[in-house]
Symmetry: C2
């Protein structure tokens, strides 16, 4: 079929196709963001800005995305906190305008660094504290073999979790620093785990 057939079939003018494409993409990015634990609107707003040649002001964004000014304001604040959108002043217009950070990989890096890394570090800290608790239990058990055996077993397993965290952290750091990342440590760990069970 001819290139414009699809749009023609729907009886829509070219301009409508433009905004339909925009919304489709916004929705796609929004869904992805949602899957990754962010608010869907953050993805939608960023996408509309990313697909716009010039910076856009609030009213225009509200209209295109069909959201209230309040929600837009809050979402933009969060996007700015993540450094994903920045304000821009357009000559002869009092309104503040916004434009998307277009260095996409930089965005991903920032998120990885500030959210995932923090989370994994937190988990690792907890696991290590649990390990300490178990060391204490062994010392206190004063020879009760049931307790000692159980503590030992759990320590082994927790050590595996801790190692997984460490490998994950180094992988994250590799990604963040932009160097090569090698998953073979993960595989090695996995194989070590399989062997034991």
């Amino acid at each position: 079929m001819s290139p414009g057939a699809e749009a023609a079939r729907r009886g829509s003018r070219p301009a409508a196709s433009l905004s339909r494409a925009e919304l489709q993409a916004a929705e796609a990015v929004g869904s992805l963001m949602e899957l990754w634990g962010f608010r869907r609107q953050l993805g939608r707003i960023w996408t509309v800005l990313f697909l716009s040649e010039r910076p856009l002001a609030a009213p225009e964004l509200c209209e295109r995305l069909q959201i209230s000014t309040g929600l837009l304001s809050m979402s933009l604040a969060e996007l700015r906190r993540w450094g994903v959108v920045k304000g821009a002043t357009v000559p002869g217009d009092r309104k503040e305008h916004f434009e998307a950070e277009t260095h996409v990989w930089r965005l991903v890096r920032r998120v990885l660094a500030e959210r995932e890394r923090r989370a994994v570090e937190g988990a690792l800290a907890v696991v290590e504290s649990a390990l300490a608790e178990l060391r204490g239990a062994i010392a206190e058990s004063a020879g009760d073999p049931r307790v000692r055996a159980m503590a030992r077993f759990r320590m082994e397993r927790l050590e595996e979790l801790a190692n997984l965290c460490r490998v994950g952290l180094s992988l994250l750091k590799a990604l963040i620093d932009g160097s090569r990342a090698d998953v073979s440590p993960l595989r090695a760990l996995s194989e070590a785990l399989s062997r034991r069970s």
Copy 2:
């Protein structure tokens, strides 16, 4: 301080330390799972099973985790769907018992393959359909320069998004297939993006 000092300070017996360590770890894994878009209970349950030498039955899990039988049943069903927990029958006990899949990397792989990959593929499909829509708009515009310029710009940007999806997919595939993963394509793309802006 001596190894058991912490537990001693809290005035708890070694056995209490054992389950405290268990719950701490369960909570840590639960939080991580939550961050990644799963239910927190899935992580908690898996962890308790992972830290247990023998398979556990429902009542024991309910008691340790303080959740209802209904919730446990649903969560276990989901864990089994992900292949993360499997049932086991214990000789002389009618109850069904459960044990954790201990090949942790295999778990991660499965999730990456079935969830993230699907999502990125879906997003890519939508972006490509948006690109098609824009091609149609250009064809239909019959020379209107405003429309054409806008469509062209959006197509460029959408192509960037599509490429990012493709790079992400290949990275995911590399992780899933367990081979090395190189993030340099991502960096190259990122730099291409920076240059333009």
